[in-house]
């Protein structure tokens, strides 16, 4: 491993070489070099992979292994955003080049690849990770080597880092508005929680339970069940649902279990038109596997649906389908992943520098008015202000938006009274 002295030397050497390379260009195109495109030595003082014409970022997701199902959409969205930014002239006059690494659905691999991207490729930012487990594995690496991670998934909260921008919602943002809506609109009094057994469903359900028990009147949780990841037999819990007859089934089952759960729910004669079910884990991506017929009538609670009716989103959906095919669908996380490169571009331009410390400091207050979900803004805590929506699943696999929070909801990764 290179010691600090080696790193300093190689940095100096690189800057010297860049300076030499840039010198004749500067003579030929003084305007380009000094007006539109600020000098590399000025915007990159820490030895990142930035040249006069290019800047390198990393994409770190799983293209192999279990998580490839979910992470494919994020990769597609990030590549789309990068190509659009390049068409507009890039970032500080530099085209974005990306290095893609495969986390292979394995958390230590994520950490190793993150280190490779930061140490060897010197990327200016990483768009990546999907599961909380992969983010937790990458976090110490990103902090140690001072990188910048744009993380797209909605997640359980209880985390904040100078080196991460969370472009998905944290749990309170996603859940609370949905619970309030279902109690008000459906007169729900009793809830039954069903989740996969790991950190995100457990934390989300804990927050939901606190909200139901402490912050709303006359509502209670009548059951809470967790199943191992990959569980495929839900008949027993479905019988329990028939026995307890909850007003709302609240689910955060993930992965292949999701498909089994909804198919068996339908087979057991539970009609989602009559039984209210609210999920925080099913996006358009998941419905592809579940089948629209099996889930029509369920409500999903998140910040983005492909069917959102606004000009930004129409443009985004059209561009996405043009690049990745007419049949592709876009879920919540895919949209959040699309925000990453754009937010990074705007932050770099505000800071006037690719330096990580300057980007971290410049991030709060960055506004993205062209976001497909509407308008987003980065909070002091590096999460996004965003709206929460409730969608009703249709037979064709799309959601009809039935509710939208009137205001942007403040991200609150460490909610008081919910822990």
């Amino acid at each position: 491993m290179a010691g600090p002295d080696d790193q300093l030397q190689s940095r100096l050497r690189r800057q010297l070489l860049m300076g030499i390379a840039a010198a004749p260009l500067a003579g030929l195109f003084p305007k380009v070099a000094f007006a539109d495109t600020p000098a590399t030595s000025a915007v990159n003082t820490t030895g990142l992979a930035v040249t006069d014409t290019e800047v390198t970022v990393g994409i770190l997701h799983s293209v192999t292994g279990t998580m490839a199902i979910s992470e494919t959409g994020s990769i597609q969205a990030e590549k789309l955003a990068i190509s659009q930014i390049n068409e507009m002239g890039g970032v500080l006059g530099r085209k974005i080049k990306f290095v893609q690494e495969d986390g292979a659905s394995d958390w230590p691999t994520f950490a190793e690849k993150a280190k490779k991207l930061l140490v060897q490729d010197k990327v200016a930012a990483i768009m990546g990770c999907w599961t909380s487990a992969s983010r937790k594995a990458v976090l110490p690496v990103i902090e140690q080597y001072n990188g910048m991670l744009y993380y797209p998934t909605f997640y359980e909260g209880l985390e904040q880092s100078k080196n991460v921008i969370y472009t998905g919602q944290e749990a309170t943002q996603q859940i609370l508005a949905g619970l309030n809506w279902v109690v008000k609109e459906k007169g729900a009094k009793t809830f039954f929680f069903i989740g996969s057994d790991y950190i995100w469903p457990r934390t989300s359900n804990k927050i939901a339970r606190k909200h139901i028990e402490n912050f709303m009147k006359g509502t209670k949780v009548v059951g809470e069940e967790y199943f191992p990841l990959g569980h495929t037999q839900f008949n027993s819990v479905i019988n329990k649902l028939k026995l307890t007859k909850p007003d709302v089934i609240f689910t955060d089952v993930v992965g292949g279990s999701n498909v089994a759960f909804y198919k068996q729910l339908k087979a057991a004669g539970i009609n989602l038109e009559k039984q209210t079910l609210m999920t925080i884990s099913v996006t358009e991506d998941e419905i592809d596997g579940i089948g629209g017929d099996n889930i029509a009538g369920a409500y999903a609670c998140m910040k983005y649906f492909q069917s959102l009716d606004n000009p930004n989103n129409k443009e985004f959906v059209a561009a996405f389908k043009k690049m990745w095919g007419e049949k592709t669908v876009i879920g919540d996380v895919t949209q959040a992943a699309y925000l990453g490169p754009w937010l990074w571009k705007m932050t770099v331009e505000k800071a006037g520098s690719f330096d990580i410390d300057k980007i971290a400091a410049a991030s709060p207050g960055i506004e993205f008015t062209k976001a497909p979900e509407g308008y987003v803004k980065i909070h002091e805590n590096h999460h996004l202000w965003s709206r929460t929506r409730v969608g009703l699943a249709q037979k064709d696999g799309q959601f009809k938006v039935v509710y939208e929070s009137p205001d942007l909801i403040e991200p609150n990764p460490f909610p008081k009274g919910y822990q």
């Binding site: 199902i69 057994d197 199943f227 008949n235 329990k240 026995l243 279990s257 017929d293």
Partner: protein, 308 residues
């Protein structure tokens, strides 16, 4: 837990719960049958069992697409065609694998474990590259969806009944094949004494290939049937593999009857515990019980006496 409910309610819930246990039992038998044949009769530990199942599921998916595009009038019956094709596809792939890979490893049984595990990774990545990393949704004919109302409060899922009938049918067919047909006698002869079986004129290589193909074919049918209850994606096979091994090992490797008995006891324990406790706890207790019993009886519930 039951204080607030009427006797009628409880009665119907217990009836449905009993039925849920039976469905789980059928699912387990169907999953494990193919593996039990291969493991029991050949001593090969087929780690790629789940991937052979998923091949069947993909065949079903393509059948559903084909029928809805070209033969919509026959769509209600496509599932039977799909299962037959799934059997053929997984069976032929199985025979190919036996010829190319397994045959060379009969003298090194532990290496088959590693080789078939590698095979499962290769197959997963092949599915991912060919069919895409996302899960596909298999459209089922309407008659397979929904439930049969037995009384006002008791409802039985149709696909559960379908899996039960299918499992019964396949189990009886395999039983007849193994214990009544000439081919089954050959298989059992090879299991009991390979050298002597060869000496009396049985083509042991052919028997091995057919046995492996049969086991994989049944896995394909199981995969096809499970599109009704589970997901179809490149790694979906992994969801089944642990339970499958558990059942085969617990039942005693060389005994079909043991497989059935073990599927029955595990499914009933699991489904009852799941009802009274929570999902994860049910799994933990089931696994602990199995471990405890295997410590007392390492050979499994039932074993054949085999001259080695």
């Amino acid at each position: 837990m039951f204080g607030d409910y009427s006797l009628g309610d409880l009665g119907s819930i217990f009836a449905m719960q009993g039925f849920a246990g039976l469905i789980l039992f059928s699912v387990y038998v169907l999953m494990a049958l193919g593996l039990a044949i291969i493991f029991g009769q050949m001593g090969v530990i087929n780690m790629a069992h789940g991937e052979f199942m998923i091949l069947g599921a993909y065949v079903t998916y393509f059948c559903s697409e084909f029928f809805s595009a070209y033969l919509p009038s026959l769509f209600p019956g496509y599932f039977f065609v799909a299962m037959a094709l799934a059997f053929l596809a997984s069976g032929s792939l199985g025979m190919l694998v036996e010829w190319a890979l397994i045959k060379r490893l009969y003298k090194r049984p532990l290496d088959t474990l590693l080789a078939t595990w590698g095979l499962s990774l290769i197959l997963q990545q092949t599915y991912r590259s060919v069919f895409g990393p996302r899960e596909v949704g298999v459209v089922l004919p309407d008659w397979l969806l929904g439930s049969l109302p037995v009384t006002d409060t008791i409802e039985v899922p149709i696909n559960g009944v379908f899996v039960m009938c299918l499992t019964a049918l396949i189990t009886i067919a395999v039983g007849l094949l193994m214990y009544k047909a000439r081919w089954g006698r050959q298989v059992r002869a090879v299991v009991q004494n390979r050298v002597m079986a060869g000496a009396v004129g049985i083509d042991t290589e052919r028997v091995d290939r057919m046995t492996f193909g049969l086991g994989c074919g049944i896995a394909g049918v199981a995969g096809s049937a499970f599109t009704m209850i589970g997901s179809t994606g490149p790694t979906s096979g992994q969801l089944y593999i642990v339970d499958t091994f558990l059942i085969v090992v617990f039942g005693g490797a060389a005994s079909l009857f043991g497989t059935i008995a073990s599927a029955f006891s595990i499914s009933q324990t699991q489904s009852t515990l799941e009802f009274f406790l929570s999902g994860s706890m049910a799994k933990v207790i089931t696994l602990l019980t199995v471990v405890a019993i295997l410590m007392l009886r390492p050979q499994g519930l039932f074993t054949l006496k085999v001259r080695r």
